[in-house]
């Protein structure tokens, strides 16, 4: 197993006003990630799908130890990295990279494209000088930025959004990482170009044997690339399974609602939908019992009292719902 995450939690303290500090001792927390477990195999594409506020981005940052977990365990390539110091974790960074959503913000505008991609090679002492340059040119070619010599010397300002994201991918992949966290890598890319970016990421995965933790709000994108998908709601995984199983046989009412809300390019529309009331509640006041019960069209009395555990319903397909026991 490449990555094993067990009962991971991240609580952010809520800043109190002056009056609140006087009146109450009780700390309040945003329970952004509230006890999730999952694992990723070598070379696997595993997607975390959820709405804003589901905790998916926080999970990605926790896994890479870019922020400190409140509790839980993260094991990467058999090594427990949960409480490693910054110094201890540094040599592992070449094996765990990240691609961000915004290709305009993630690149240094004063750094030439070639230098930006070379940077990780120098930091991790993988190569330098001519050798590093050769590796960067080869990588530019692989990500479709040709002729590579021209792109090596250009600045991000002269590139389109799609080209910038290719640079970000080249930079993340040049160390041939074992795990890449990709946080909404195509949501700011023009629709006509998205598939080519996704295809590029999948090609590089095949070539380097990297695994992806793919974070997205878009189930259609997740379906296109993932081996397995986990659906998150308010800091918890409510359903996880192989992509095919999840789409053929969605079990959690939230998964069903999410699936039925995705626009499908079919005119006449307005298929039969599972309508949900309201919006995702605040992660400060998480509902008791099943955290989805306040919006669930199928909730019954048990749901507000007892939190359901993830149970295996068919091989490799887990759901946390009292309807499936």
């Amino acid at each position: 197993m490449l990555l094993e995450v067990t009962d991971l939690k991240k609580y952010f303290p809520v800043a109190k006003t002056f009056i609140e500090r006087i009146l109450t001792k009780e700390e309040r927390y945003v329970r952004a990630v509230d006890g999730i477990s999952f694992s990723i195999e070598e070379g696997e594409v595993f997607s975390l799908v959820g709405e804003s506020g589901s905790g998916k981005t926080t999970t990605g940052k926790l896994v890479l130890r870019l922020i400190e977990p409140t509790s839980g365990r993260i094991v990467f390539q058999g090594t427990d990295i949960t409480s490693m110091s910054k110094k201890e974790i540094r040599p592992m960074r070449r094996h765990m990279q990240i691609i961000y959503q915004d290709p305009y913000a993630s690149l240094n505008p004063r750094m030439r494209v070639g230098e930006a991609i070379m940077d990780p090679l120098l930091i991790h002492r993988i190569a330098q000088g001519r050798e590093a340059r050769e590796m960067v040119l080869e990588m530019l070619e692989k990500v479709g930025l040709t002729p590579p010599e021209t792109f090596f010397n250009s600045y991000p300002a002269y590139l389109s959004g799609g080209q910038r994201q290719r640079v970000a991918i080249a930079r993340a992949m040049i160390t041939r990482p074992k795990l890449v966290v990709a946080d909404e890598p195509v949501s700011m890319i023009d629709v006509s170009l998205r598939a080519s970016i996704l295809d590029l990421m999948m090609d590089l995965r095949r070539e380097f044997g990297s695994a992806y933790l793919f974070i997205t709000h878009d189930l259609a994108v997740a379906k296109y690339i993932s081996d397995r998908i986990a659906i998150m709601y308010l800091g918890k995984i409510v359903e996880v399974g192989r992509t095919r199983d999840l789409f053929r046989n969605p079990l959690h009412p939230y998964t069903k609602a999410l699936l039925s809300a995705i626009p499908v390019p079919t005119p006449g529309r307005r298929r039969e939908r599972i309508k949900l009331k309201g919006e995702i509640p605040s992660a400060i006041d998480i509902p008791t019992g099943c955290r989805f019960h306040t919006r669930c069209p199928l909730a019954f009395d048990l749901c507000s009292r007892e939190e359901p555990e993830l149970m295996e319903v068919e091989p490799g397909h887990f759901v946390a719902c009292h309807l499936h026991k």
């Binding site: 006509s192 598939a195 995705i262 499908v264 390019p265 079919t266 307005r270």
Partner: protein, 315 residues
Amino acid sequence: MLLEVDDLHVHYFTKRGVVRAVEGVSFNLDEAEILGIVGESGSGKSTLGLAIMNLVPSPGRIVSGSIRLNGKEITRMSEKELRRIRGKEVAMVFQDPMTSLDPLMRIGDQIVETILAHEDMTKEEAKRRAMELLEEVGISRDRFNDYPHQLSGGMRQRVMIAMAVSLNPKLIIADEPTTALDVIVQDQIMDLFTELRDEHGVAIILISHDLALELEVSDRIGVMYAGWLMELSKAEDLMKRPLNPYARELLKAIPNVELEDQKLISIPGSPPDLHSPPPGCRFHPRCPDAKPVCSREEPPTKVVDGRLVKCWLYG
């Protein structure tokens, strides 16, 4: 005919030169119709929406063409006449409601103010109407005294829609109204738009980058690329048999969750910089069907089977 746009040209006069953001766009819109305008970044779809309200920001302006709303020419109206029309005959909903809502004013009061600016009503009557409107868009009356920051993104967009319909306009222009929202909330907002159309006969121009969403919701769809209207067809026709190669290739690039093992195909290259668009057809560098003429001359817009298409394949 509710709206007639004829050979509209909108340019931005920037330091780097003239950007022809909308060029030669023509279409009609009926009452109670939902017209989708779909395009990528830089397609001119947002500029087109603003032009219909005569709200193109400086350094841009409408350089030629005509926009008739209920037979009245919008491009030649005075600022005073325009103010009367905006809100009352045509209203706009933007992507980010926070840019249009006053953060220091209670949401109910903002709706009341809009109503009182245009309608001859007492404050009490306006308040009653505002409460009805909030309820109509799915917000409880007790939120009347809330400030915008107390509402979620979806609720703020509902408030914007309540304000947009407060003066009973015949036309609502919605520019990426759900792009910042999650899909479940997007679905709720789309229900609201279709209700407005079905129950009040409001026509809606829905501007979006999301072709799947447009196909689901719209009656007809205009596909824009680099300032041009490439095709205007019924949603069904566009889906079954797109005429313009750009529309056809775009359909191949969007995922459909209901299909198994779908292979998506991107369009090579990227949309042009409108400071220096390619000569001839603006899509020709990316077009799989490009012929020699396409790189030399602008294609004409033709009517084919009652659909508009701008492409040399039909020249």
